[in-house]
């Protein structure tokens, strides 16, 4: 039991007085709130754009699969018969037989009536094995024919009687027209920046920075969808992440005690100060999320090897930075995110050698150069800084669909 008497009026009066009390907050409090929610707004915008981009990619991909199936099936049905002589004495392969067991001197017909994509892929194997110019129409060398493909061909041949002999080849070129690829790239790079003063009084700072600052190692990583609208030209777009930066030599011009007084006024930290003349090195790092778009031009060097040149732009959002930059108001290097631009536009150029390992997978490697078209700093800052990087692009590509419209076309 309590020693104290409970007086209801005490709590009521206290709550009443407390409820009447208010204070006017300082302007910096709202600025802090505003800055944080503006960041949230930007991040939300970025994710909205990313989700929209991925959704568009997904819809295009699904539509393309459907269109591709419809076209392939339709063309196969209309064309009916594809190949050569009757299969008079061709042994009907069973499920366990191997392709190497097929008599290489026999001719074989392959047909397709509204079949599935996987069956078409089997036919593709047959096509690739035929070398008409070498063996002529009467003697077709076959290898790697799967039993199911042979059975389909045999049945179709008998169902249609004496089928017209008609061998179809892919038209020259346009092997990749309408093809979709998914590609992933990793680019380790040397990152640095160009710097220039926006005002006369900042020129000495520009000179100092050019003497003291250095580049650092950074990297980019991208996942993109790539659409070939012709055998030569293609467009890639997707998501990326870049880490870049520079090493800065911080040389303040005033004593730390003077700075400390100013720092309090502007809300900066008072730690890690150094005296005038002393140089402290610090690594500025910037992390960007990107939406890159790249136009490629491809030239075949050999059947498997090609050279692609890519040029592109990317919308970049600065996710975070630890960067320190010079603030003339306190004559010191400070960490003030307000000086940095949230959104930027970058450009990139690359030359890559692409090697096709098979019909679906290929590897790529080559030099890449990037350059930021907008300054890292906002326009009111005394310096303008354009980041660039030089690196080696390593990539892998995966072709989404192995059968294209052109495959069965005349």
């Amino acid at each position: 039991m309590s020693r104290f008497r409970i007086h209801r009026p005490f709590e009521e009066e206290l709550a009443k007085k407390a409820d009447e009390f208010s204070m006017q907050p300082s302007l910096s409090t709202w600025q802090g709130v505003e800055k944080s929610i503006a960041k949230t707004r930007s991040i939300q915008t970025f994710w909205k754009i990313s989700i929209l981009t991925l959704s568009i990619l997904a819809v295009i991909g699904i539509l393309f699969i459907q269109e591709d199936r419809r076209t392939a099936n339709s063309q196969a049905t209309e064309a009916g018969i594809l190949l050569l002589n009757p299969l008079a004495d061709l042994p009907l392969a069973n499920e366990n037989s191997q392709a190497s067991n097929v008599n290489p001197t026999k001719s074989v017909g392959l047909t397709k009536k509204g079949g599935s994509l996987s069956t078409l892929a089997q036919e593709e194997t047959a096509f690739s094995a035929v070398d008409e110019s070498k063996f002529g129409a009467e003697k077709i060398f076959l290898k790697n024919i799967r039993p199911k493909g042979l059975r389909i061909a045999y049945k179709a041949e008998h169902a249609n009687g004496a089928a017209p002999i008609r061998f179809r080849k892919r038209p020259a070129g346009n092997k990749n027209r309408d093809a979709w690829y998914i590609q992933a790239n990793f680019v380790p790079a040397y990152a640095y920046r160009n710097i220039s003063a926006r005002t006369d009084y900042a020129r000495p700072l520009e000179d100092t920075k050019k003497q003291l600052d250095k580049g650092i190692s950074g990297f980019s990583a991208r996942v993109q969808a790539r659409y070939h609208f012709s055998d030569r030209f293609s467009l890639a777009f997707g998501l990326g992440y870049t880490r870049s930066g520079e090493q800065v030599g911080m040389a303040p011009r005033i004593n730390s005690s003077v700075y400390d007084a100013l720092a309090e006024q502007y809300g900066y930290e008072t730690s890690e100060m150094n005296a005038p003349g002393d140089i402290t090195y610090y690594t500025n790092e910037y992390s960007y999320a990107e939406l890159p778009v790249t136009l490629y031009s491809k030239r075949h060097l050999t059947p498997r090897l090609s050279l692609s040149t890519g040029l592109g732009l990317s919308l970049a959002y600065m996710m975070r930075t630890n960067a320190r930059c010079y603030d003339y108001r306190v004559d010191h290097y400070v960490n003030n995110p307000e000086f940095f631009r949230d959104w930027s536009i970058g450009s990139h150029a690359q030359v890559v050698l692409e090697y096709s390992m098979n019909t679906r997978w290929s590897l790529a490697a080559g030099p890449e150069f990037t350059y930021a078209l907008l300054s890292t700093y906002r326009n009111y800052y005394t310096l303008s800084q354009h980041q660039f990087s030089m690196g080696m692009n390593f990539g892998v590509q995966w072709k989404l669909f192995d059968v294209t419209k052109s495959r069965l076309a005349d």
Partner: protein, 189 residues
């Protein structure tokens, strides 16, 4: 009421002007709330800033049922408590003598004082007492809720409140006798 709903809806749509208006509407009162929990004005402003950031982040979870100010206040108070738990020692820092004589806390004296004097009186209490007193007597939380919020036992909450009230009662008695300035020593912003 309709205006308030429109304002909240605009804030949910990330309208910057609406967000600023909402802030200006409630910030003074909420800073008053934070000030009762904080050790200094700067800390109170930090609490207010953190609190409003959370308010804007969670605004889309507001159901438009009940008072918006009450909802906002709960977030601000929770933020203040989190900051206190992070940076302050909630143990009471002074003992009250085993109270052979303990005066009753009088609401009459409180009623006769200026608002600022009452707030300063509350703020003159040690951290632990002040927090429990604020939560129980002013915000209306139960001792069980306070225990959950502060990570202490329910009995600790009760005893801290009792001691806080006793300490206040002693000071109120002296105020009645000598006036406020000698007994309420807190730094003014």
């Amino acid at each position: 009421m309709r205006d308030e709903i429109s304002l909240i809806e605009a804030c949910i749509k990330q309208n910057r002007a609406a967000q600023q208006k909402l802030y200006e509407l409630f910030a003074p009162k909420m800073l008053g709330v934070c000030y009762r929990y904080a050790s200094s004005r700067e800390e109170a402003e930090d609490m207010l800033q953190e609190g409003f950031i959370r308010v804007f982040q969670k605004l889309d979870t507001f159901r438009f049922q009940g008072s918006f100010e009450g909802w906002l206040r709960r977030i601000i108070v929770n933020t203040a408590i989190n900051i206190i738990r992070k940076y302050q020692n909630l143990k009471y820092e002074c003992d009250i003598d085993s109270a052979e004589y303990t005066p009753a806390a009088s609401g009459d004296v409180i009623a006769s004082m200026y608002t600022r004097e009452v707030i300063d009186l509350v703020r003159s209490l040690p951290n632990g007492y002040r927090t429990v007193l604020n939560l129980y007597a002013i915000e209306g939380y139960s001792h069980k809720e306070i225990a959950d919020m502060l990570g202490i036992n329910e009995s600790s909450s009760r005893s801290q409140y009792t001691r806080a009230k006793a300490l206040l009662a002693k000071r109120l008695e002296k105020i009645e006798a000598f006036g406020i300035t000698e007994h309420v020593k807190v730094s003014h912003p």
